[in-house]
């Protein structure tokens, strides 16, 4: 840990302790998300800090009796240092995103966010996470989690032609950069699964209680490449480079004219073919051939005259 990190913490630790005379090492450690040993070392430094002159009587008075801490004579640092612009902006955006995600689930958060914005001078027209259309399934799933109920969902996975019924014991909702996921135990697959809310066609909250409890640590809903995945090469015109953000690409070759060649792996070729369609000619599958065929088939079928 660098000296400046220590200083940032110590300048906050002093007002925190002045406000809580007799706090324990463990309490301070928990509040600062460090070990008690780090707090102990901070205190040993602060014992040598104080007003200029450094002549004994002008120093902070730091005493540690048992595991209880009392700091006095440190009035110069009675208030914490303002957060930096980085810290302030990150904090506001973070708590704001959570407030949006929770809806009405934590009512005190809304008023807290307003007060924090006011204190840091960051109103909503300076930094905001725009709430997207709330997925229809969200309210029902919130209710299922609150009341501890099993759900039946109609889910169209990336490789499914149409929504398929699944029975799920819900564990948690997860918002990652504006995209909602449900994590839970899929009874049919008999394992933990992640479902994107915008692919859930319908939700029914059942009377049954969940039978499988969530694991201690829920993994983040990220795609992890598997051995059976298809390796794909795409050529992207500048107009289609937004696809790079939608995909998790392994490798990008930048071309002179602003276009790119990308390589990625996917377990869902059907979904990828659809993304290529969405690019409307800006994205070309270079390999493998079966994916080229799939794209051509989808586009040709769509162009066939309507009955």
């Amino acid at each position: 840990m660098s000296a400046t990190t220590d200083v940032a913490r110590m300048l906050t630790l002093v007002p925190w302790l002045l406000e809580r005379p007799g706090a324990t090492l463990d309490e301070a450690a928990a509040a600062f998300a460090v070990t008690p040993a780090v707090i102990r070392r901070d205190l040993s430094h602060l014992d040598f800090c104080g007003l200029p002159g450094l002549g004994g009587g002008d120093l902070f008075d730091v005493s540690l009796v048992g595991d209880r801490i009392v700091v006095s004579m440190a009035d110069e640092l009675r208030r914490p240092l303002r957060p930096t612009p980085h810290e302030a902006l990150r904090l506001v955006l973070t708590v704001d995103a959570v407030a949006d995600a929770l809806g009405g689930d934590l009512p005190a958060l809304r008023s807290a966010v307003d007060k924090v914005r006011g204190a840091l001078g960051i109103p909503e027209d300076v930094a905001d996470v725009l709430e997207e259309v709330t997925p229809r399934a969200l309210e029902e799933l919130r209710r299922a989690l609150r009341d501890q109920r099993r759900v039946r969902i109609g889910y169209q996975g990336r490789n499914d032609e149409r929504p398929v019924d699944r029975l799920v014991d819900p564990w948690a909702l997860h918002v990652q950069d504006g995209v909602w996921y449900l994590q839970g135990h899929d009874l049919g697959a008999d394992g933990g699964r992640t479902f994107r809310l915008d692919r859930i066609a319908e939700v029914e909250v059942l009377e049954d209680q969940p039978s499988v409890a969530p694991p201690e640590q829920l993994p983040a809903p990220r795609y992890a490449p598997g051995p059976g995945d298809l390796e794909v090469d795409l050529a992207l015109l500048p107009s289609a480079r937004w696809l790079e953000a939608a995909l998790q690409v392994d490798h990008v070759d930048e071309m002179e004219d602003g276009s790119a060649r990308v390589r990625l792996r996917t377990e869902a070729p059907r979904w990828l073919a659809r993304l290529v369609l969405m690019a409307g000619g800006g994205a070309t599958v270079l390999a493998p051939d079966e994916l080229v065929d799939q794209v051509v088939e989808l586009a040709s079928e769509a162009l066939r005259p309507q009955a």
Binding site: A3, T4, V7, E19, F32, H45, L46, F48, C49, L51, L54, E76, L77, R79, R82, P83, P85, A88, L89, R90, L93, T94, V95, A97, V98, L102, D105, A108, L109, A112, K115, D125, A127, D128, V129, L130, R162, L173, H174, Q176, D198, E202, L218, L237, P238, R241, A245, G258, L277, M278, A279, G280, G281, G282, V285, A299, S300, A302, L303, A307
Partner: protein, 321 residues
């Protein structure tokens, strides 16, 4: 006694305590630091310490003293101190839970600063089963300029790949659909623009004074980011049972008509340019049947897909079946 953390805390206290700016010689006398025999190396050490403090957000102010003969240093307490925030225990608890739900990367210390003089959180409030990832790293490069209202210059790659140099007044940072945008007034175009942060090339460079502009009171960041509403067309789609929910979730309603065995749904508020990708991605489960311009727009896109993949279907040739 050479501990750097102690020295920086003591320097902070010394510069906070003084009512008038202190010269380097006075700082050295008062603190006992920087007293190396080589005067210049003591001076360099002080400059490094001062820069370190500034990086932490400690507002060290430099001014001319002794009739401009020397530089003086002090910290203005009003700029240093975070004013008290009147938070209830419930609000403190809610903030602590919110930061916990996100994993708290890079925001824990900021929260502790905020809560240093607030009530302690209430114990044993179970967090709701929701987790949130914000990934706010991208905003760091522009954070200081947005908060201090300082103009920025940067090179920008537009959606069509062209590179241009821009100078802007950065009004706001906004996240929408997982992407970060800087909403700003573009000096060269004298107009409001939204820049995607991931298309800014290299580090943006602040220029000019802080507080050099004011954010327009009628700024609508949501509108700035979603772009001009070019058109809101009512589109009719012939929909397979499998694609029906996707169209309904976008506000589609049944017209009661049928085309073959497919139901015809009507979706309002479609912008043919902006929603082109969405319409293309529905194929072939849902096909646009009206109005004609949108049908043609989508078919043109599909023909371009075929052409890009070396398949027929352009120039009036037959589409392979």
């Amino acid at each position: 006694m050479g501990d750097k953390a102690e020295r920086l805390v003591n320097l902070t206290v010394a510069l906070l305590e003084t009512r008038r700016p202190l010269t380097f010689a006075e700082i050295r006398r008062r603190t006992g630091f920087y007293a190396q025999r080589d005067h210049e190396s003591g001076r360099r050490m002080f400059e490094r310490d001062k820069d370190d403090l500034r990086r932490l957000g400690v507002p060290v102010v430099v001014s001319d003293v002794a009739f401009g003969e020397e530089l003086g240093y002090r910290i203005d307490r009003r700029d240093y101190e975070l004013p008290d925030i009147d938070l209830t225990a419930e609000e403190v608890t809610a903030l602590a839970i919110a930061v916990h739900l996100t994993g708290g990367e890079g925001v824990k210390l900021a929260l502790t600063k905020l809560l240093a003089r607030a009530p302690d959180p209430m114990p044993s409030v179970p967090p709701p089963p929701v987790r949130v990832e914000v990934a706010a790293d991208a905003v760091d490069a522009v954070a200081a300029a947005v908060v201090t209202r300082t103009a920025l210059g940067f090179r920008y790659r537009a959606a069509d790949g062209t590179l241009t140099d821009r100078e802007v007044d950065p009004y706001a940072v906004v996240q929408r659909r997982g992407s970060w945008y800087l909403v700003a007034r573009d000096h060269g175009r004298d107009a409001l623009r939204a820049f995607r942060l991931d298309r800014i090339q290299g580090a943006p460079r602040p220029f000019g004074e802080a507080a050099s502009f004011t954010t327009p009171p009628d700024l609508d960041v949501a509108a700035a980011v979603s772009g001009p509403e070019l058109a809101a067309v009512e589109v009719e789609l012939a929909v397979d049972a499998s694609a029906r929910w996707a169209v309904e979730s976008r506000g589609g309603t049944d017209t009661g008509h049928k085309l073959g065995d497919r139901a015809v749904l009507r979706v309002p508020g479609i912008d043919p340019a902006r929603d082109r990708a969405w319409l293309l991605g529905l194929a072939p489960g849902a096909t646009v049947v009206a109005p004609n311009e949108v049908v043609e727009e989508v078919n043109e896109g599909l023909r371009s897909v075929l052409a890009a993949h070396g398949a027929a279907g352009v120039d009036g040739r037959e589409v392979p079946s």
